[in-house]
């Protein structure tokens, strides 16, 4: 187990190098030199050339990349080209926002999936609604759903604030009321896909012998469902959560844009727009690392739930 984890962590290093190079190469060939973006629309070619030289954008991409990674390995990610902030100053305050949004969203999606699809009462009564919500969650894109939710709950009903973000320090109520709509928006898609996965597993588990045994023992239907069927049906969802973390980052980008949340995703979009390579690459590393760690964690969780599988 330990040796497995060590190996997985070591494997991340070549992965990060390969991915960042890919990011660096595609970004600089697609977006071009940041100099034009830094100087604005009317910059003359001479000025752009001068700035390219000053920042070294005129060197071959591989040289620029090696230069960047040499600094990065020493912990120096440089300064944003546009805001002149150090990358740490730009990036660090955004991480808790995105982390909180993502964790709430995953938690909500898992809890809602399990509740709606396991509790016998809920299964009987709200089954059609659950199915409808699952389909809506999967088919409606995030930004659309976000705007619809804003319109219904903020503009029409006035129950919640439309957009924006308030730190915990400004009050728990204010913080939570601002984060509800983004969390629901981001969770919707996962609720949909988790429901589809979980429901099939749950049905399969229910047909198995130990359920009959449990019933024969005279256990209540709720107990049969929650204690015997649920733990067996949840395994694929755990794997699925691990696999969903990559797309989750994508969903967080869109959600943060719609709800004006100062998270990593919003910073990333701004950095792309401004061709701000230092910030983009740092976020790239962070996301790649985060997804790989999350996958590792989900594998560990999986093995601890299902003793038949071991990491080796």
């Amino acid at each position: 187990m330990l040796s497995h984890i060590t190996r997985r962590i070591l494997l991340m290093i070549p992965n990060v190098i390969a991915m960042t190079f890919l990011l660096f190469a595609t970004v600089s060939s697609f977006l071009g030199s940041p100099a034009a973006a830094m100087l604005g629309q009317e910059a003359s070619l001479e000025e752009i050339a001068a700035l390219n030289k000053q920042y070294g954008f005129d060197r071959p991409i591989i040289v620029q990349y090696l230069d960047w990674i040499a600094h990065a390995l020493r912990g120096d990610f440089g300064r944003s080209y546009t805001s002149q902030q150090s990358v740490a100053d730009a990036l660090l305050p955004t991480i808790p926002v995105t982390l909180e949004l993502s964790l709430w969203a995953i938690l909500l999606a898992v809890v809602a999936t399990v509740l709606f699809n396991s509790v016998p009462f809920a299964r009987r009564v709200v089954q059609p609604i659950t199915t409808t919500l699952a389909v809506i969650g999967i088919t409606i894109p995030n930004f659309m759903l976000g705007i619809c939710l804003i319109f219904i709950f903020a503009v029409k009903l006035r129950w919640l604030p439309t957009t924006g973000w308030v730190p915990w320090s400004a009050g728990v109520g204010a913080h939570l009321s601002h984060i509800i709509l983004p969390v629901v928006t981001l969770a919707a898609n996962y609720f949909g896909s988790f429901t589809l996965v979980y429901r099939e597993e749950y049905k399969a588990a229910y047909r198995r012998l130990f359920i009959k045994v449990a019933r024969a023992k005279g256990l209540s239907e709720t107990r049969v469902s929650l204690v015997h069927a649920l733990p067996n049906a949840i395994l694929p969802v755990v794997t699925y959560v691990g696999l969903s973390l990559g797309p989750l980052v994508g969903g967080a980008v869109v959600t943060e844009m719609v709800f004006s949340m100062p998270g990593v995703g919003r910073l990333f979009v701004g950095a792309i727009g401004a061709h701000d390579f230092p910030v983009m690459l740092a976020i790239g590393i962070l996301v790649i690392f985060g997804v790989m760690v999350a996958n590792l964690v989900s594998d560990i969780v999986y093995t601890s739930i299902n003793r038949q599988v071991s990491l080796g």
């Binding site: 071009g32 034009a36 973006a37 830094m38 100087l39 604005g40 629309q41 009317e42 910059a43 003359s44 000025e47 001068a50 700035l51 000053q54 300064r79 944003s80 546009t82 805001s83 002149q84 902030q85 100053d89 730009a90 305050p93 955004t94 930004f143 705007i147 804003i150 319109f151 903020a154 503009v155 006035r158 604030p161 439309t162 957009t163 924006g164 973000w165 943060e256 844009m257 719609v258 709800f259 004006s260 949340m261 100062p262 998270g263 919003r266 910073l267 701004g270 727009g273 401004a274 701000d276």
Partner: protein
């Protein structure tokens, strides 16, 4: 003999303000300004820095104009008025501009605003190591000379009247040298100016807050206690937040956006009708568009009223050239009239057979897509066969500049000086001349107009330029777009400036 331009302009401004006042004096706007309150502005922020010297993004300016004062300022017709410079003298050869600075003004950090600070602001922008995008606008300055504590002289390499307009924009915003020294590279997160509002906090990606400057030099100003710029994802979200009262003001609205709020009694709309210049441009000196008859045929074939009606609900202004009506240099010429018969005739004279294919670039942007489709419809009607070629919106300006695409829709925002757009677009050496247009007569007129300080005389030259442009057609002018600002009904004191950047310093709220 020196001309006292500042005072003359100030008098002019008063007359102008009186004239405007009598035109728009509705009951609520003549109310006396009230003090206090917070104005919350929704903005699609792309702000990267609040250091005016490093600033290039659009949305930064509405914040910068509150925290910083510029040396001079602009009226809605783009005439220039005093701000930190109370008046200015121009030497007869136009090569020395002496600025007389307002006395007793202090930066927010308590240091004095004086001639030394002005000199530092110019020298710092002109230093290539700073990498300021404004260096080019100020490149004509040879040296900055401190005469006394409140007088500073700019020695120019050549006479250059457009410089004053630059001093009303980012290049003229005065930053505290002491703060720049103190914060170094982090100055962009700690802006210190002399403006009516003091920077309080910036949560990037969320909001910027500025507070009333209690020590502001202008007696009784500003009225508001706080201005908060809160980020919005798009105008739809912005309007929804306006309806719920979470924000007080949102701009950058297209006529079709406002349907959501136009019947709402709690919201008032303020349109500007001489906004962005929409045009079509081409490679003027290369086939097929080096054929003057073809260019004229296209100019006659376009039904500008129809485009205006469909895209701007008829609220835009038909364009007869690059300079919008209402500016001091606007020409009085008539635009090309819609005349498909004449267009067909010109096409025949040009030797272009019916069904000839022409490729029009189609940038991935909603408005430009619809605009292109209308252009195609009208050009197809005179016998051309327009092919729309999709191109990424983010890249299309660069592709145009690199001359990789030929026939493209184009938009430009008005500049505060005629030289601003006319020189970069139409001078054969203009930095944004992507049409290949070259007319020695136009070059000569533009060069001459740069050297004259007298606006009436300059306008005569620009009138000639506009006339030639209408004949040569490096661009076909279509409309000046209409844009709206929407605000809560208690929000007062807003005036549009045709550069489309909202100014909040003189606004107030009825409680």
């Amino acid at each position: 003999m020196l001309e006292k331009i500042g005072r003359g302009l100030a008098l002019g401004a008063i007359c102008c303000a009186m004239a405007l006042g009598s035109l728009s004096a509705s009951a609520e706007e003549s109310a006396t300004p009230k003090k206090g309150g917070t104005l919350t502005v929704g903005t699609q922020s792309d702000a990267q820095t609040l250091d005016p010297i490093a600033s290039v993004q659009w949305s930064e300016r509405q914040i910068l104009f509150l925290v910083f004062d510029s040396l001079v300022t602009l009226a809605p017709d783009f005439s220039i008025h005093p701000l930190l410079a109370e008046s200015w003298d121009v030497s007869p050869d136009g090569k020395r501009i002496t600025l007389h600075l307002r006395k007793g003004v202090k930066f927010h950090d308590g240091t004095d605003f004086d001639a030394d600070a002005v000199k530092w602001n110019f020298d710092h922008r002109l230093d290539p190591a700073t990498g300021s995008a404004q260096r080019k606008q100020l490149a004509v300055i040879d040296s900055v000379e401190v005469v006394d504590k409140s007088t500073v002289t700019l020695n120019l390499k050549e006479a250059f009247p457009p410089l004053m307009a630059a001093l009303a924009d980012r290049a003229g915003l005065m930053e505290s040298p002491a703060a720049a020294q103190k914060y170094g590279k982090d100055i962009g997160s700690h802006p210190v100016g002399t403006g009516p509002f003091v920077f309080k906090e910036w949560v990037r990606g969320n909001h910027v807050t500025v507070d009333r400057n209690e020590q502001y030099w202008q007696e009784g100003h500003p009225y508001l206690d706080h201005v908060v710029f809160t980020d919005i994802a798009n105008t739809t979200v912005g309007l929804q937040r306006l309806v719920t009262g979470e924000i007080d003001f949102v701009a950058e609205l297209q006529p079709r956006d406002i349907q959501l709020v136009q019947d709402n009694p709690d919201i008032k709309l303020d349109p500007i009708k001489n906004g962005q210049w929409y045009s079509l441009q081409w490679h003027w000196n290369e086939p097929p568009f080096n054929n003057a008859k073809l260019r004229q045929a296209i100019a006659y074939a376009i039904d500008r009223n129809r485009i205006n009606a469909i895209l701007w609900n008829g609220q835009a202004t038909i364009a007869n050239g690059p300079s919008a009506p209402g500016l001091w240099w606007s020409p009085s010429d008539k635009p090309y009239e819609y005349n498909p018969e004449k267009a067909k005739q010109l096409l025949a004279e040009a030797g272009i057979k019916p069904g000839t294919k022409i490729t029009l670039s189609d940038p991935s942007n909603n408005i430009l897509r619809q605009y292109d489709q209308l252009v195609k419809e009208q050009l197809d009607a005179i016998g051309l066969d327009v092919q729309l070629q999709p191109v990424d919106y983010d890249q299309y300006y660069q592709l145009t500049l690199d001359r990789k695409i030929n026939f493209v829709p184009m938009t430009w925002t008005q500049r505060a000086d005629p030289d601003g757009l006319l020189h970069i677009l139409f001078h054969s050496k203009g930095t944004a001349n992507s049409t290949g247009y070259s007319n020695p007569e136009v070059d000569k007129l533009l060069d001459q107009a740069r050297l004259i300080s007298d606006t009436a005389k300059r306008k005569e030259l620009y009138d000639q330029v506009h006339k030639i442009l209408a004949e040569d057609l490096p661009y076909v002018s279509i409309v000046f777009s209409a844009e709206y600002a929407a605000m809560g009904k208690g929000v007062q004191g807003f005036t549009w400036i045709p550069d489309l950047i909202p100014r909040f310093r003189d606004m107030w709220k009825d409680q």
